[in-house]
Amino acid sequence: MTRTLLFVVGGLLLGGIIHVVIVFLVPTYASNDAWSEMGRFGQDRQFHTLPLPEAGTERVPGMDPRMLQAVCRFNLTTGPLRVHADLPDEFWSVAVFDRRGRNVYSLNDRAAEGPKLDLAILTSVQMAQIHQNPPPALENAIVVELPIDAGFVLLRAFVPDDSTLPAARTALAGASCGDAI
């Protein structure tokens, strides 16, 4: 009897380990994650404006229907990324997510001090290279060093009402996401 009890306890402990392993592996094997979904909008290293969230046709769940959003998927192994945008004089924000959908960087218009966004995203190695020989092109950019390879940038522009929607669409369509230098 005691021996059976010992096996039950062992089973519970092993169950705990299985639990932890599953939870950590879910992001690796999920096929429905944000990174995959964002890839369905078009090519990488380009901004794609997401449709304004509407009932029944939401492509990405849990998005604010008052925010017009554009997404750019990237992979830093081909070089640093540069994001340029000239956004309307309303609230806007930019967020960088890693391959697993974890937010690694975010910024809003007030922190960016103006309607123009100039953001450069680099890996630690690329940052070290730039430190040795700083390119003048990056002088005015917000330079961010991130410990990621792949990810996506999400631009969100607040749309107070329908009359401001065209301006937001134009601004997001004009946003660029490409090579840094």
Binding site: R3, T4, F7, V8, G10, G11, L12, L13, L14, G15, G16, I17, I18, H19, V21, I22, V23, F24, V26, P27, A30, N32, D33, A34, S36, E37, P53, E54, A55, G56, E58, V60, P61, G62, M63, D64, P65, R66, F91, S93, A95, V96, F97, R100, G101, R102, N103, V104, Y105, S106, L107, N108, R110, A111, L154, R156, F158, P160, D161
Partner: protein, 191 residues
């Protein structure tokens, strides 16, 4: 023989406990990092690099994208002030004030976080379009039928949720959130 039976028992227990608890934790509950204030729940760590593995697993399954810490903070409520679940058949008053934020939006979603189709095609309110009382407080009426004032229509659903997103807010840590003054959700009428 007894050893084999015991071993089989241990393996069955391990698999059942491991898979069921992992599924429950990822699919149903967000066990860690929740902070509640006045019936509203937020996960302040979800928008940071230190998000917990349960939150990351949940996001990976749903495809949801959280608000970054530099963007804002999202609060969810699915119960009224008396602790009863929000019912799509009832009318609720959302009254009071929100914590400091440059901008906020209030959206009604179904129980899965999806937007609901409604008669007025209004997905929600934001802080600049609501009519306020002279002291700055507001009253938003959440109802499936037409109401005067700030009417937030909801679809014909059994249960729904309210999502309050605060943009550019100084709230970053959980300790401040527990003492926040949040708008109260009061049941006004229920047929």
């Amino acid at each position: 023989m007894r050893f084999l039976i015991d071993l089989a028992l241990a393996v069955v227990i391990a698999i059942a406990v491991g898979i069921c608890s992992a599924w429950y934790a990822v699919d149903r509950g967000r066990l860690f990092g929740a902070v509640t204030a006045g019936g509203w729940t937020a996960w302040p760590r979800e928008g940071g690099a230190d998000a917990d593995p349960y939150t990351l697993a949940m996001f990976a399954r749903t495809g949801e994208v959280p608000l970054g810490a530099g963007e804002g903070l999202s609060f969810t409520a699915d119960h009224d002030a008396d602790g009863a679940p929000l019912s799509g058949k009832c009318t609720y008053d959302v009254v009071g004030e929100t914590p400091a934020a440059r901008l906020w939006t209030l959206t009604a979603t179904d129980n899965f976080g999806r937007l609901m189709d409604n008669v007025a095609h209004r997905p929600g309110f934001h802080s600049r379009e609501i009519v306020r009382a002279s002291d700055g407080s507001f009253l938003i009426t959440v109802s499936p039928t037409v109401e005067s004032g700030n009417w937030l229509p909801i679809g014909t659903v059994d249960r729904f949720r309210l999502v309050l997103r605060l943009y550019d807010t100084p709230l970053t840590t959980g300790s401040q959130i527990a003492s926040l003054v949040m708008p109260a959700i009061r049941k006004a009428a229920c047929p």
